[in-house]
Each structure stands twice: as C-alpha cells, then as structure tokens.
C-alpha cells in the first residue's frame, strides 16, 4: 500500500457514504418508481441548482435548519449554501420566474440535499429527497391530492404497513392569535405540544399567562389524535372563527381522502405542530413499521413564495429516499441476465445486440475467460444464463436448466423466450 501523507485523502467526511452494487441499483430503482408515480399524477420535473445564496435558502427556515446548512463564500464575499431542502429553491423559482403561468403548477423533484446534523435512521449529511409541490391552489382538493400522491408513492415502493399523520397548524395558530407570543416562546410551546408533555405544557401556559378557554384548548391538543371523532372534539374547543375554519378545512381534506378509499391510512393528529417554519395549513408525516422516524413529510406553505415575488398558495411533500431503502421490499434486479464469452464473430455480436434490444442485460467478457473460468465468473455475478461460443454457429448455454449445446437459430429462439 502506498504511503499517504494525509490520511484524510482516503476517508469520507462523517455522515457521507458511497453507494455501489445493490445499494446504488436499489436507489436508482426507487427514484425511477417515484418519478413514474409523480408523472402519472401530472407532475413535471424541476431541477433547481445545488447551491444558492444563503439568504435565499434561509427564508423562513427554523434556527435549527439555519445551523445545519453548509455555508461557504464566493469570490465577491457573498455567502452561499448547499440546499437543505427542495421547497425553498422551488418557491424562489416559481416566485421569480413562473408567477404568470397558468395555474396550478405541478412540479416534482429528486435530488440531494445537505444538512450538518447527526446521521440517524438512514439519513446522512447528504441525502436524497423526492417530492412534489402543487402551486396556485389553496383548496382542500389540492391538499388531499398531495396526501394521496404521498400514499401512492409509499404504495409503489412496497414498504409494508404505513400510516399518515395528518395535522393542521392553522388550528393552533388561530387559538394563539390573541396571545401575542414572541417567536421563541411560540417555538417552546410548540415543542411541548410536539412532545405531548402535559406537565411541561401546563407549566409553560402559566408562565406565558395563557388561561381560560385558550389554555384548555392548547392542553387538549396533544391528545387530539385518532379518527373522525377528533374533529368533533376539536370543534368544541375552537375559541374563534379562524380555528373553526381551520378545522373545517382539515375535515374536508379528510373526507376527500376517505372518499378516495384512503381513510384507513390516515390518523388525524392536531398535535402535529412541528416542522419547518413555513407551514401554514395542513401538515403530515408518513410512518412505516420498522422505521423509527418518519419516511416522508409535507404540508401547506401559503406565505413562502410571496417572499420571492408572487403571492401563491402551495402544498407539497418530500420523501427520504435513503430511509425508503431501509424498508422497501422490492427486489432489485442487479445481476446480469447473460454473461457471454468474448469473441470476434459478427454473428455473436448481432446475437448480443438482439438480446440487448429485447431489454436483457448482457455482459460480454473482456478478460479472455473460457470454460470453467467463465462459469465461475458468471456464478459470482449471479448471471441467469452463460453463453459459450464454440464456432460462431454452435453454442453452449449453461443455466438453471443445465448445460445444453445448440445452433444459432435455436439459441435465437431461446433468447427470445427469456425476459427480465
């Protein structure tokens, strides 16, 4: 082994990973499936740049997310950052360029995002998000569509049993509208609700001087989790018109999802108040058996695009591709269909071309392997069939059915019967 002056040359920074073999194939396959699903629902791809001005990406970002951004300078001294999510770059693109297009806009994206955080649950410091944004519609129908696409994506990836936790941040916002809390107090209160910690919540409400109906409603929020009944209970606690409207909207989204036959996947949860700073309406997270944290999350963010120009309502979700890889049951076809002995015959060349044109994956040996050596190689690669050329008109095929000698027309016919 050569001597390396600097050991870092051979290392990766903590929280990054190389993907290869089955893992890389599995990721590619999941991304293909997700893109196909998004396209079926009428979403077109957007490809925003990987880095932008920090100022852009920090728009409405929580203090935690700002801390997690990778930042650097350009030569003019501007601060740049690697994108920590795809929603803000999409909002900038729409707000500055696509504000006069016919609405709604339906976009999907697949790409790396970067966060300086402790790697956990399949997440690294560079990870891949696949998701959609539906822009220019503030209707319950738009919200229900985005949740339905998330469900379709989870189903397409075959990840087993999952549940979508559907909340409405506007309900809490409406109840708190009279309390005039500072941003940091609001964050602390949200955190107590998020943790479902009633003792902490009670202590904070006292400290913040929130009492009466508002306090009663807020203390009830962490327990408002379940099915339809949650909405009735919440209606009784609503302290003003905005709170009632927020619940009506959520109820309408839930009904629409039930009509689509998706009600079984939904848990209504008004304690779902966490999130990226920019959410203004429904929010949701998807949970899968076997994965301790959420696999996807999203919601409505009506004020975000306005920061960049046009004031357009929007709703979307993002899914963690690496997390999905931990739970997908899809079998990734990674092995070649055919390993073929290398030779110079034109007929063999066209045979390979024929097999490839039928969608088969064909590896032609380039190391001059023959006989047993080629068989061993094909086995190591997990190839389904190996083909040996005898004289460009007779061949030997070795596979699960044994070893058979055959002529060219016979082999062509046989290959035609193989499929991926």
């Amino acid at each position: 082994m050569p001597h390396y002056e600097n050991q870092l040359v051979r290392q990766l920074p903590y929280g990054l990973a190389d993907l290869f073999f089955e893992q890389a194939a599995a990721k590619t396959e999941l991304e293909r499936i997700l893109q196909a699903t998004f396209r079926q629902w009428g979403y077109g791809r957007i490809i925003p740049p990987t880095f932008q001005y920090y100022e852009t990406l920090a728009t409405e970002a929580s203090p935690e997310l700002k801390k997690e951004m990778y930042r650097f300078f350009d030569r003019e001294g501007h601060i740049l950052a690697l994108r920590p999510d795809m929603t803000v770059p999409t909002a900038r693109l729409v707000g500055t360029k696509l504000y006069d297009q016919i609405l709604p806009l339906r976009f999907y994206y697949v790409g790396s995002v970067f966060r300086y955080e402790e790697p956990q649950a399949g997440r690294r410091r560079e990870f891949t998000q696949a998701g959609i944004e539906l822009i220019g519609a503030a209707t319950p129908e738009a919200d229900a569509e985005v949740v339905a696409v998330a469900i379709a994506a989870l189903e397409a990836m075959d990840i087993g049993r999952f549940q979508i936790n559907l909340g409405q941040v506007a309900f809490l916002a409406a109840i708190l509208s009279e309390a005039k809390l500072s941003h940091s107090d609001l964050r602390r209160l949200e955190r107590a609700i998020e943790r479902r910690n009633d003792v902490e919540l009670q202590r904070m409400l006292e400290e913040l001087g929130i009492a009466g109906d508002a306090a009663r409603a807020i203390r009830a929020i962490p327990r408002l989790c379940g099915d339809q009944g949650v909405l009735h209970e919440a209606q009784r606690l609503a302290t003003n018109r905005a709170a009632r409207l927020a619940l009506e909207h959520l109820g309408r989204v839930y009904d629409l999802l039930c009509t689509k036959g998706l009600g079984g996947h939904i848990t209504l949860d008004l304690g779902e108040v966490r999130g990226m700073g920019y959410y203004t309406g429904i929010t949701f997270h998807g949970y899968v058996a076997g994965l301790g944290s959420y696999i996807c999350g999203g919601g409505r963010y009506d004020g975000l695009i306005a920061h960049f120009g046009a004031d357009l309502p929007a709703v979307g979700f993002a899914l963690g591709v690496e997390r999905s890889m931990l739970v997908t049951r899809l079998d990734v076809d990674f092995a070649p269909d055919i390993v073929m002995q290398g030779c110079e015959h034109q007929t063999c060349g066209s045979l390979v071309a024929m097999a490839r044109s039928r969608g088969l994956c064909v590896e032609v040996d380039v190391l001059g392997r023959r006989g047993e050596e080629l068989v061993a190689y094909a086995r190591a690669r997990g190839a389904r069939h190996s083909i040996f050329c005898r004289d460009a008109s007779t061949y030997t095929v070795a596979d699960a059915r044994g070893s058979r000698r055959m002529g060219l027309p016979e082999l062509q016919e046989e290959i035609a019967s193989w499929n991926r």
Binding site: Q120, D198, A289, G292
Partner: protein
C-alpha cells in the same frame, strides 16, 4: 398481536416502574424480573420489557428498537432525543443540582473566570451556565463526580440529588437546582401512529394508576 416493546432503565428505577406497571394491569413474573434476564414479557403477553442502561433508553426508543420506554427527565433532556412524552409517572423524583464545597456559597459565580465543573450531564450543564451568564468549563465524567472537587479536578459539580446523602457524606453543599426530574414515559413517534389504539390504552391504564397514587398521597 406482537407485544409492545418497553425499554426500562436497569437499576434504581427498575423495581418501582415494574410495580407501577403491575398495579396498572401488566403484571410480571417475580422470577423473571429477579433473574438476570434482560428481556421478559408481562403475564398477558401484551408487553415485552427490555432492560437497558438508563442513558440508552431514549436511544432505543428514538430508533424504534423499543416502542416505549421509561426514563428520568434528566437523562431524557441530556439525550435531546426526539420522542413523545405523554406521561410523567410520579416516580423516582429527584433534582439535578449544582453543588460544591461550602465556601463556594459566598462566591459570586458570575464574576468567576476559571470555573471548572465536573458533570455527568455536560449538555444540560452547559445550557445552564450559558443561561445564567456564567463562564464555566464543563468536564464530562461518567461517575463519582463528588470526587472531582476533592481532588482539585473541578471547583463545582452537577449531579442528580435524591436524598442529598451522598453530597453530605462528601462534605458538599447544594448551590442551585438546575432541573426537577421524575420517571417519564416516552413513546416512539412511528409506533404511536402505527399502534395508536394499543398505546393509548396503555397510557390510559398507567395514567389512572398514577392519578390514584397521587390522590392517595394527597389524602395522607
């Protein structure tokens, strides 16, 4: 139905927590719990208990290796894990205290510059001193922090105080309370959604018992 997995802290809290579960309708076999087994089920087969080091309990639950756990608030806050905390169990009440030799009582910590503090809770200690505007160097330790001032390793220490005996025996006094703590039920976010009914039922049963004990305490 698969039993729910509950991570319990080995040691101090273990017996009292199992008593609470027993009283709430989830009895465990005395033999199973007194032996050195790290995994055992309750009599109804609805719960599977695993015994872990207290500091590992929130990690088991955050990663979903356990659906629920019981852990002291002190350990929970130190871990900064992202969990639901739906119920305080009213057990193992204690507090996290700043302590030191008696002469430290008369010093104004805000004016100190070279303060060194030994602590098993580096994160909570750092936050506390920042909040108080006190410049302190935290020395992370994993046990016997009472030794640190004695040997001149640190001026002060942060440790969990239940009766105060350990401090007294080492000639130390409490200077401030950093936080109150008690045993807390924690729940994994995904489990909470995927097994909502079962978990809500368990929380309900435990809450009833906790409330009954609290009322009893008040009556006395």
């Amino acid at each position: 139905m698969e039993p729910l997995t509950v991570a319990l802290p080995k040691g101090r809290m273990q017996g009292r927590v199992l008593d609470l579960f027993r009283a709430a309708g989830y009895p465990t076999d005395q033999n199973a719990t007194s032996s050195r087994k790290l995994i055992f089920e309750d009599a109804s087969g609805r719960l599977r208990f695993v015994l872990a080091k207290p500091a590992d309990v929130p990690i088991y639950v955050e990663y979903g290796a356990a659906d629920l756990g019981v852990v002291g608030e002190d350990v929970l806050r130190e871990s900064d894990c992202d969990l639901y905390e739906p119920l305080m169990l009213g057990l193992a009440r204690c507090h996290l205290a700043l302590a030191g030799p008696p002469e430290m009582r008369h010093r104004n910590l805000r004016l100190e510059t070279g303060l060194r503090v030994a602590s098993k809770y580096p994160r909570l200690s750092r936050e506390y001193f920042q909040r108080q505007g006190i410049a302190a160097e935290i020395i992370p330790m994993s046990g016997s922090v009472e030794l640190a001032p004695f040997l001149g390793l640190a001026d002060l220490l942060v440790d969990l105080v239940e009766t105060g005996r350990t401090l007294r025996e080492n000639g130390l006094v409490e200077l401030a309370t950093i936080m109150e703590s008690q045993a807390t039920l924690v729940v994994n976010r995904a489990s909470h959604k995927l097994r909502l009914k079962t978990i809500q039922e368990l929380i309900g049963n435990l809450a009833t018992e906790v409330a009954r004990r609290r009322d009893e305490e008040h009556a006395e």
